[in-house]
Amino acid sequence: VTVRETRGDQGDPASAAGRTGLFFCRCGPNLGTVVRIGELEAARWPAADVATHGVLCSPEGQAWLAERIRSRGLARVVIAACSPREHEHTFRKVLAGTGRSPWHLAMVNLREQVEWQGGDPAAATARAGRLVSAALARVALQRAIPAEEVEVSADVLVLGGGAAGLSAALTLAGRGRKVIVAERAFVLGGLANQLDAVFPDLECASCFLEPVLDRVLHDPRVEVLTGAEVRRVRGAAGRFEVDLELRPRGVDPAACLGCGACAAACPVERPDPWSAGLGRARAVGLPYPGCLPHVSVLDADACLRGRGQGCELCAQACAFGAVRLDDAPRARTVTVGAVVVATGHAPGEVPEVDGVVSSWRLERMLHPDGPTRGAVVGAGGRTPASVLLVADADEDGDLPGRELLKLARIVKTRLPAARVTVAGGLDRIPALRRDAAAVAREGIALVPGRLAAPPLAAGGGVAVRLADGAGGAPEAVAHADLVVIHGAGRPADGTADLARLLRIATGDRGFLLDRASPFEPTATRIAGIYVAGAAAGPRPLADAIRDGAAAAGLVHASLVPGEKRALEPLAAEIDAARCGGCGVCVSTCAFGALVLRDGKAIVEAVHCRGCGGCAAACPTGAAAARHFTRAQLEAEISALLSSGRDG
């Protein structure tokens, strides 16, 4: 290590800012071939102390720097060395160690962005000189930023009470976390709780979900909010503030026993939203048999009162006085340290043709408590003698195949005499081969071919054109009394709005995107927000449950009760005297960190991430970005362009 010191005090024109030191680092052999360090060092700089060191980041170099800062009484330091991405942190610590503000450092990236980009040494050295000038101009204007902390909330908000959300909630509550489960519907369990049996062993869905639901509903650490919609999200990991709107249930859950007397009294009949379009239901009553919480819901839109007519029949019929005809929406704001998004997906849709159903509608048919009480109904309302199952969802991978194999087995059990066929050549898909073989042994036919055209009603049944996409084989036309199509899953209603509120990305199909970070499954691009289950795209139930547990594990690991989170040091500032309350900054802040109060913008530092967007947008100069102030950046621009002309 060589230390070469140059001249001593040159006088410091920026004396108000304190004495400034300018240090060049040779970075071992890395700097000095293209950029002529000696030439730079010998130039006249407005700095009190100019020196060069061999390896400034080494322990010896750091000690030398600290000593130099102390002995020369330097208040500010410019280091021309490697990228600040590499060692800004190191040198800030050195400054802090000498009692200086770590914010009084500016680095010049000579290594990555000049030396290593090669070219003519004269041009490179001239450019390096401009960059040094800019750093000196900027450092004189840099201000110390006090470190501030805020206590984190260890509570967690789980959006969605389906399988993935329940999994996350239980895994969190099991370690003592307070969990708020906000479910948009008035029942928990999501799509899974409406299934009869799940893949691959035809296990009874409600048998394994109900105990879980029971635990969630009775765990004192879990608060369940139903009818909940997210309206606003602010803040960052460790402290999010989420405004929820709780839609009115119209029934007091504490008083209702779920007896159904209200539904029996209700004069309104409308399509049943829980029957996949198969059945009809009253405007008030249990969403579906066995739902949890087992409490009636009054659909205000369907109710006669919602149409301006007077009717109180349900309230009169309720022996427990549980009906609340005047129930109104409520607002609720929760402060949490993390958010797990588990809002699920919507099943694929299929064309409206008699005898054609979606796989989801078949699921509901097969459920013994479903709209057909478990009966399989084909074209013309008859029990089908032949059933064809086919997928129309290439984008969902193996999932449609698994679903169809499961459904085929159940159908074959219910209708042993029926000819059951699964198209798609599933026995040729490696991941499905074993299950497909088992299905075939049960007398279910497996045929190649994918849906080549929309199904058509034909001869009292349905005709389907199948084509084998693989080899260009001729199309085949299959006939069946019931055709079951598994369409591609869709994002649940409101997913796009939710993504916007949470500031997380969506993919091509509109599903929420995780960050695809191998060691942080379910983590999104926003720290502290996780996406679990089918909200990120259709997936097997087991995977959704695993996602929930994974998200909970990451929350446990990163959000420790009692810890403090450093406030963003670069948080924006507002000069109230200049602020006209125009609201441009408030409107452009992606984090909701700016609010208007009494006609002036205010920065809520706990929510600010320090991007500086407000400072750029503010038309009066009231908003300022710390460490990236207008004065600092303008000084950089001027210095870059004003030093001796090159070229």
């Binding site: 691009r525 967007g613 400072a615 870059l640």
Partner: protein, 488 residues
Amino acid sequence: MAHEPRIVAFLCNGCAYQAADRAGQAKLDIPQTLLTIRVMCTGRVEPAFVLRAFREGADGVLVAGCHPGDCQYVDGNLRAAARHAVLVEALAQAGIEPERLRLAWASGSEAERFAEIVREMTEALRALGPLEYGRRALEGAGPLAAGPVQVQVQVQDQGQVRKPKVAFYWNASCGGCEEAVVDLGEGLADLLAKVDVVLWPVALDFKRRDVEAIPDGGIDVAFVNGAVRVTEQDEWARLLRRKARTVVAFGACAHLGGVVGLGNLSEPADLLEAAYRAPASISNPEGPLPGDPVREGGHDLSLPVLLPRTLPLGEVVEVDYVIPGCPPSPAIVAAAAEQLLGAGPRPPRGAVLAPSASLCETCPRKDSKPERLEVSALRRLATSAVDPERCFLAQGLVCLGPGTRQGCQPGCVEVGMPCRGCFGPLDGVRDGGAAMLSAYASLIVPGGPAGGGEEAVKALAAQLPDPAGTFWRYSFAAGLLPRRPRTT
């Protein structure tokens, strides 16, 4: 060696700066043309920074950040894209080629892409040649080389009670500022009773020699309206500066160049061509232009000639006070007269005599502003039905109120017109047009980050007609880039 372009590059810390580092680590061949400024996000980059870089000698400006969708601040890069789209259009109007201002995306791992961006931009700028805005475009008229005239402010006449001597003069203006004086109504009679008018061409007959005969410093206050556009106005400005102890820039043209300043979007020769030769309604077969010598009745005659650009009064002579507005409202004219001619203490020298506060604060529509302003469709006053009570910005109309100084009330907003910025920016804002361009463009985010993305933002920004005339309607000649950089 040929001129190597100088590119000021604003690189975001999250992506582009990292890409530049990676390009170095990979020892990629990159021209030594970038002068890099690290910012946390491209959303921090103010259009005024870009203008300043050009003004101070950059040949190009690069703003590079994360790909849309990857911004760690969600949509900072889309805000940058909106500002860029509007700014590039405005710069094109001012004769700065779009290739000189580039917005690019490079993730932290895209070293080669970053290198390619720098190579392409360097090549493009080599082909265009130097911009050298500062060297040519900022130079003024010939006489300006001497710089503003310095005047020794004299002590008030001791013990003598006399009426202050006042001059009103007009340079390149429409006459509206004279109207503003007359608009004082009965107050004008009071004012005139208190002062001794030594010059007021609109009302009384004075000759230049009358003013020249006044001893230097013999006028107490000269109110000068209008921009300085021709040589004669330059001479009058200097004459009045010499004769008056206090010079007041009266109205938007004297303050910021005003609408006259939009002439700086064209070269003088083109203006003359358009005014005196091109119009079909003008018969000018021999094609003489003002300034060409004419011999008439044995005398050599000529008209004053256009200066290379319109100048605010303050760029020709030192100005002591500014009364802003197009025109200044009677209220602020009366208040200024009291401040400058009354017995009380004067405001600090250099003050703009209207509150340094945003018009929004006093706007009757301010309570109708939604929590978040988002411009998802641009509307124009001429072709849209306008809600008479709702915030203009909330209706998708361009309103410069947020960045404009108060003092006009009752002004345009009260009669259903969005603010067009005639009172200029608040103290300390160097370029009000650039500031309002940034503010307005920042609101253009159709559908938010989950919505239309970069293309939608650009498409919306492109619908804004005449951005230079919209945001610098009254202040182009006083902006960071007050004229075209080169002859067309």
